[in-house]
Symmetry: C2
Subunit: 372 residues, 2 copies
Amino acid sequence: MKYKDYKILAKVTPDASYTVSMEQDIFDTDNPLIAGKTGSEKVLFVIDRGIGEKAIEKIKTYAAGFSMDAAFLVLKGGEDVKLGWDNVYRVVDKAEDHGLDRKSLMVLVGGGSVLDMAGFTASILHRGIRHIRVPTTLLSQTDAGIGTKNGINFRGQKNLLGVFNTPEAVFIDPSFLHTLDQRQISSGLAEIIKVALIQNSELFRWVERHYQDFLAQEFENNEMVTRIIWQGVLEHIKQINTDPYETEQGRPLDFGHQWGHRLEIITGHAMNHGEAVAAGMAIDCIISHKRNLLSSTDLESILSLLKAVKLPLVYESAAAAELWPGLEDFRRHLGGELAITLLKGIGKKIDVNTLLIEELEYALAYVKEQVQ
Amino acid sequence: MKYKDYKILAKVTPDASYTVSMEQDIFDTDNPLIAGKTGSEKVLFVIDRGIGEKAIEKIKTYAAGFSMDAAFLVLKGGEDVKLGWDNVYRVVDKAEDHGLDRKSLMVLVGGGSVLDMAGFTASILHRGIRHIRVPTTLLSQTDAGIGTKNGINFRGQKNLLGVFNTPEAVFIDPSFLHTLDQRQISSGLAEIIKVALIQNSELFRWVERHYQDFLAQEFENNEMVTRIIWQGVLEHIKQINTDPYETEQGRPLDFGHQWGHRLEIITGHAMNHGEAVAAGMAIDCIISHKRNLLSSTDLESILSLLKAVKLPLVYESAAAAELWPGLEDFRRHLGGELAITLLKGIGKKIDVNTLLIEELEYALAYVKEQVQ
């Protein structure tokens, strides 16, 4: 070709690594951790109303105590906060009115939905504002809030718009768990059980033995609760370190999610994320069993545990025909050939490239008969 | 602290490097370059109408010739395409209707504004779809279209929303330059002169000697035209390789842009980007001279060249008070302390941290008297 020597490599190899740590009482007035991240820069706290008035006041007191140049935006959490652009605009408006720039800091405090939406906003405002995440629900502390992904729902699709981007740090403060209701705790356990199922059988046994402490909200000075949460974090980060931007074909962390995402949508989020994922995992475990990958004993243990942690595995109107499109949505989100995670044992995942609608029908019938 | 051992590093160090190359007749039916990037995946071409019907038809013929599963979206280019979300939605709709996924390819063909908006959309759809850029204007081929930045205008601010993201490749095909009018060519020369001024005096001399060939559109088999364009590319990529995501304090590639961005806004884009940048550079060269950094001879050479390439350096209603807020917008976009690039000679930049409105007033008066 005429211009054969006119070629140059633009070398772009950023280090976007970040730390995830468990911290006690992150907003106590004598805890300098977050204050130390702000320096003299402006701060915007985006806070999930779900943490309660007392915790919100504590954050404001914290910011005042360290003389931060801070603004606060409190939003109703839950999946609706991710619906379209409305809340993105609210964050942009608040950030702009407060005069944030790229050296400023956004501190995102809340459940996975608030972190997803506000993390996305932080990622696109001024081409990316520094932010740290303080996940406050069991689910976000062990899954949605600690990874590389953010996004909003659009055109009826979960996370259709979003980016891979990393925070400066993630601080997991178990003291927030007291603000949760039982459904939120069960939902968080679903994602812990998920990482246990795909890669850590010991964690599965821990949850089997100690889930009652979670349901009873016995978090204080409870070593096994702490270890279970932290092991959930480690299993999650292990996957992120393997494939942070999901360029590989499989998405093991999305075990059960192809049905779960669909269940959330078709129930209009009557099933929350963890519940829907649990129902999706139940289906995939049954399919794994039907394919002679997973033993009856293991299947029984899994379904029993999911039930024991009060996860509803059946949604009455969920027919196979309604769930089936979830498979194509899932394939398209990653692209290329379909790759679905099944189990060949507790703690042992296996990727497959095809599923049959008959298998889904079988699993739905099975779960309705055996589980309810 | 209670949880002191509960800390892990999420290691995220992606390689986002990409090649920029000059290519002849990229959409000739026997040029397999782009076809080879698509494989069997779906493709969406987002095309700037400004390249003309003939070139658009050629792209469609190209896609058909290689039996691509392609869709086409043709948009009116220019700054308006970046205004708010309308065109982002159009790209999303087209991509979704065609069933694109993350393994699919978007081929973005056009001027800097179309590349900015469509590149942003590609970056946030499904958390990032592969894309390649084919900049078609002199400005986008040497500046806006080859770097790491994209974005849209929002709340009256240029590029308020966007991300740093890299394409898979950038292909520069000079055959598109025949579609440009004189203002577009002059505008592109402004950005080439910019990189010359901040870091390559020899390139400045080349432009002094050969700008007539650009204005006369004598691009074919014109070795110096090719060398000037390519040197513009190299100077730009040199900066990107130094600081791809603009984490350092200075933004040398934005020489003159603090006034330029403002001029674009206050003239309602009656001044295009290159023209506004040229006017901004003229101001900063005069300030550099007033500070005894830049000699009279050099200042004269610069202003003469900008005039010779038909760049209007004055906009009648641009008063200092109107331009001055551009400084704070500029500081905020990067954050931290203000860092403005001035010149201590042709090809030699120097960063300063303060400017006075009196200096801006002086420069505006100077340019009005001396240049017009």
